[in-house]
Amino acid sequence: MSDQVQSEVRVIPDSVPFRRELYSRILKGCMFLCIGITAALVAFLILYILVRAVPYFSWEILTTKPSYLKGTIGVLPDILNTVYLVLTALVIVLPLGVGAAIYLNEYARSKKLVKIIEYAVETLAGIPSIIYGLVGMLFFCQFLGLQTSLLAGALTLVIMSIPVIIRTTQESLKTVPSGYREGAYGLGAARWHMIRTVVLPCCIDGIVTGCILAAGRMLGESAALLFTAGFAHALHGYIDGITSSGATLTVALYVYAKEQGEFEVAFVIAAILLVLCFITNYFAAAFGRHMHKIHADSK
């Protein structure tokens, strides 16, 4: 057994042909250029907004309403309008979207029906928001008689963000192991009891992520709100605010920049939106990570 035969010696060349080397370097250079341009554009955008906004930032502008008499400008009404609008829309869209997702994933027995509804939801997600605005204006403002109001705007955003909530909820429902469902059924649990006590607790993170994503989308929406929520900058409490016309931050940005030429205010608003955008993205990502960790632990 000990007489091993040495196999034939092979020389491995240690040089790469020049053309191949050159080609690979050029490609690498191109890719660096691509990432460089992308990063530079983003950095420029953020820096530009901050540079333009910071000189005008003041406690006053954040905490007052604009006054034509005194000639002052404040964005507090726009901030409050945004908060009212997003909270109202979330409170309405959450039960609708989560309920629809539960139906599609846990109850619906006809695969064809599920396919059709899912296709409709996908389509809904792809429609340009200006169309939601137009339909929202005709249906909520005129047909239902809500006038131009934050409520009409919130309802329009509800329809727009239903797909986000349905999709994220459905995805997290699908990650719940079938063993959990079988286990609960095996103990004599009825379907809704099983969903409420076993399935939904596993999906809380996914639902929260969906809410944050939807809130982010609502914060950034302007086209649909131009038609439905109006342009007013009046300072209101919640009840008065929701039933009257009001500009959100994005709409106010448009009005200040385009109609009134107040670019300083527009940039202040842009900076606020930028910060909100960072915050929502951070939380969405954090919840996403948390969710992955939980599911990794349960395997």
Binding site: P177, L187, D297
Partner: protein, 251 residues
Amino acid sequence: METIFDVENFNLWYGENHALHNINMQIEKNSITALIGPSGCGKSTFIKTLNRMNDLIPSVRLSGSIKYRGQEIVNSKINVYNLRKEVGMVFQKPNPFPMSIYDNIAYGPRTHGIKNKSQLNEIVEKSLRDAAIFDELKDRLKDSALGLSGGQQQRLCIARALAVKPDVLLMDEPTSALDPISTSKIEELVLELKKNYSIVIVTHNMQQAVRISDYTAFFLLGDLVEFDKTDKIFSQPADKRTEDYITGRFG
């Protein structure tokens, strides 16, 4: 002999696929009945009929009769939630819920309306004791059940099934995902449980069937080929196919 399940001319279809043909058998009270046979022979399908878990699959159709303590459960209006409380189930892969050990055991009793704290404590302790896992877990009741080893998880699942005070335990290959030591612990436990429960167990492991069961049913391609006392099946099988299977000629 007291019969707990009386199966007569039972048939099952998945859509067009006739998966179980004319099954006839009587399952005895306070005994362990093993269901053996190659993969896809219908034994898991059969066991899931005994507590109507097959209801969850839309394309399933049933015919014939299965009586549980005299009550018809095939195509009848029996309350399946109460049936599943009486006929508990332990699954192939340990499936504790992502909750604390305590909440896992208390899940069943809570589902059936028990809210009293001291009553729940009592049930949790008794169930864990009956599943011979109380001493291991008594200091960790608030910990997540997902942190337990596979064998502990499976015994926890058995305790969880016992917590609703069932009459029958169905076990669908309960040890196939476990190591040999955990397997022998579960086997000891099953032998102990037979005093108070009737047990039907699906197994791929023929030594396991020999070690623990009183009766063995051999399924092949949707037929119940042979059903008899375990000693008889493994020493003098009446059917050539049974003999071929248990001597390892196929499967």
